[in-house]
């Protein structure tokens, strides 16, 4: 199967080879760890499903955002518990990116909102530098090689370069980039560039990671490989993740919970707990439980997509 993906991958020979090594690593790694991970994960999932008692890492209430005459978000409520992987789906233009920009501290919501980080009231700009943010495009700097792109955030934090590079070098194999540290972005395949960007996000050790459609631009095969790989890395590093996607399969496959947003102005329409066991294997997408979840979510999204088409008048 590894051979097959390798041959089918449209990436350059170097890229394909590296993807394959990464995949072999991953597969070997996860199959060896199945039983242990299941136990660990069950403990982690339990409070996520039932525990109202655990304090949310981040909490938004009554968050609205207006741009001129356009209301992008309206009374949005989101709360994320530590260690959760929450995915967000919604029709295009539903304000997902606005939500992310607020959480990354780049945009201030309209007045009257409640925004709490670990229970402390904050403004959005307080969040600048507190959240590790990965935008849709990898936005690697072409003049920096792999390792120096990965340490960009650490450097801005003021960590000495040598120390930052040492930390990044240790992480390279896990991201399937061993031996590629001195390459420049224009020498890498799309999947590898995305992993460098993810590594940059992981190295910036913050409580909350925001991933904005990180795999959106990848071909389907590379994308599924990256999803499985992300789950492995996430389980190992125990980070809290908010993950935006267009892809319902991806949302269910990755998420502890899936949030469906409404058409503009964006609100949370549906909050769906995904109680599929972890670690999740690739074939889980054909299980009846998965299909049932997918059906519920697709119906909700369909309804909103219709609305957004009517609103925009096309």
């Amino acid at each position: 199967m590894t051979q097959g993906t390798m041959a089918l991958s449209d990436e350059g020979s170097r890229g394909a080879a590296a993807d394959a090594t990464g995949l072999i690593d991953r597969l070997g790694f996860s199959s060896g760890k199945v039983t242990m991970s299941t136990n660990v994960k069950l403990e982690a999932v339990e409070p996520a499903v039932t525990g109202e008692g655990e304090k949310p890492l981040i909490e938004l209430r009554n968050v609205s955002k207006t741009f001129g005459a356009v209301k992008a978000l309206s009374d949005l409520e989101v709360s994320i518990r530590p260690g959760e992987l929450v995915t967000v789906v919604g029709p295009s233009g539903c304000g997902k990116s606005t939500l992310f920009n607020i959480l990354a501290g780049l945009e201030e919501p309209d007045p009257g909102n409640v925004l709490r980080l670990k229970g402390v009231s904050s403004t959005a700009s307080d969040l600048l530098g507190k959240v590790s943010f990965m935008p849709q495009r990898d936005l690697l700097l072409p003049w920096r090689n792999v390792i120096d792109n990965a340490i960009l955030a650490l450097e801005i934090e003021g960590m000495p370069r040598s120390e930052a590079r040492r930390q990044a070098m240790e992480m390279l194999p896990e991201f399937g980039l061993a031996g590629f540290e001195a390459q420049y972005p224009n020498q890498l395949s799309g999947g590898m560039r995305q992993r460098v960007a993810l590594m940059r996000t992981f190295l910036f050790k913050r409580d909350l990671m925001l991933l904005d459609e990180p795999f959106g631009a990848l071909d389907a095969l590379t994308r599924t490989m990256m999803q499985r790989w992300l789950l492995d890395v996430w389980q190992k590093h125990k980070r809290t993740v908010l993950f935006i996607t267009h892809d319902v399969d991806e949302a269910i496959f990755l998420g502890d919970r899936v949030l469906v947003m409404t058409a503009r102005p964006g609100r949370i329409k549906l909050e769906q707990v995904v109680d599929l066991p972890r670690p999740r294997k690739a074939d889980i997408v054909t299980s009846p439980e998965f299909i049932a979840l997918k059906k519920t979510l697709l119906e909700a999204i369909e309804e909103e997509s219709m609305k957004s088409f009517q609103v925009s008048g096309h």
């Binding site: 920009n101 990354a104 501290g105 600048l128 590790s132 943010f133 936005l139 072409p142 003049w143 450097e155």
Partner: protein
């Protein structure tokens, strides 16, 4: 890959040399064959003879002109870049300075040279000032264009890492601008030598422009051509050096 590039550039240099030899041969043949007088077109061999005869004074003048061009070039680059960074950091200044700079830049700088000679005298200073003015406007405009190319999303990303304005400038905007800055620097090399020579023609104590002017008065056209050839080689060397730096350090474009 670098070996491939080297052989590629070696081939280019080879072709350039072959072209130059061909031109020289046609020149020599037509100058001799048509028996052209020296004030119309001296033969290549007589120009080469002139180069050898006046080697000492030409070398001294070449050093003089090269020093003026280089000093003015360095000052111009620094001033142009600094001004562009300031204007970008203070958005209000931009709408005032930019149209003014474009207007001043659209007049050939040599038009100001009589004034500059009056203010800074006949020595090196006036040439350095003229070159610096000419170069700084080019660099200013190309740096501004470069700094503007920065991607809004990249700025957002590094701000989300906690970067302030200076960090955004240093780690993102300046490197983004570098390809355009260095392209401006490459074009400015030739411009700096031209401006130095033209200003020397209007008044100087030494330099290739001064030699050309004196030789014209003495109807010594072999010497005029010899000085032109020296000036061209200074320009080409300067241009080549900056192109080399460009290829070496702006590898990502």
């Amino acid at each position: 890959m670098s070996a491939y590039m080297q052989s590629d550039s070696a081939r280019q240099i080879g072709r350039g040399l072959a072209g130059a030899l061909l031109v020289a041969a046609i020149w020599e043949l037509s100058a001799r064959g048509l028996n052209l007088p020296a004030y119309v077109l001296p033969s290549v061999t007589s120009i080469l003879g002139g180069l050898v005869n006046d080697a000492a004074s030409l070398a001294k003048a070449a050093r003089y002109t090269a020093a003026e061009s280089f000093a003015g070039y360095v000052i111009g680059c620094l001033v142009g870049m600094a001004a562009a960074v300031l204007v970008t950091m203070i958005p209000a200044a931009r709408s005032v300075v930019l149209p003014l700079a474009t207007a001043i830049n659209s007049v050939p700088v040599v038009a100001y040279s009589p004034l500059v000679l009056l203010w800074f005298g006949m020595g090196m200073a006036s040439k350095i000032v003229m070159v610096a003015v000419a170069v700084s406007f080019t660099i200013f405009l190309s740096t501004i264009a470069g700094l503007d190319r920065v991607d809004r999303k990249s700025v957002d990303l590094i701000r989300s890492f906690g970067a302030g304005r200076l960090a955004v400038l240093w780690r993102l905007r300046l490197p983004t601008a570098l390809p355009l800055i260095i392209a401006g620097m490459r074009v400015s090399t030739v411009r700096s030598v031209i401006v130095a020579i033209v200003t020397e023609m209007l008044g100087a104590y030494d330099g290739l422009g001064w030699i050309i002017y004196q030789a014209v008065l003495q109807i010594d056209f072999v010497k005029v051509w010899a000085a032109i050839i020296v000036a061209s080689s200074i320009s080409l060397t300067f241009f080549g050096a900056i192109s080399f730096i460009e290829r070496r350090y702006v590898f990502w474009r």
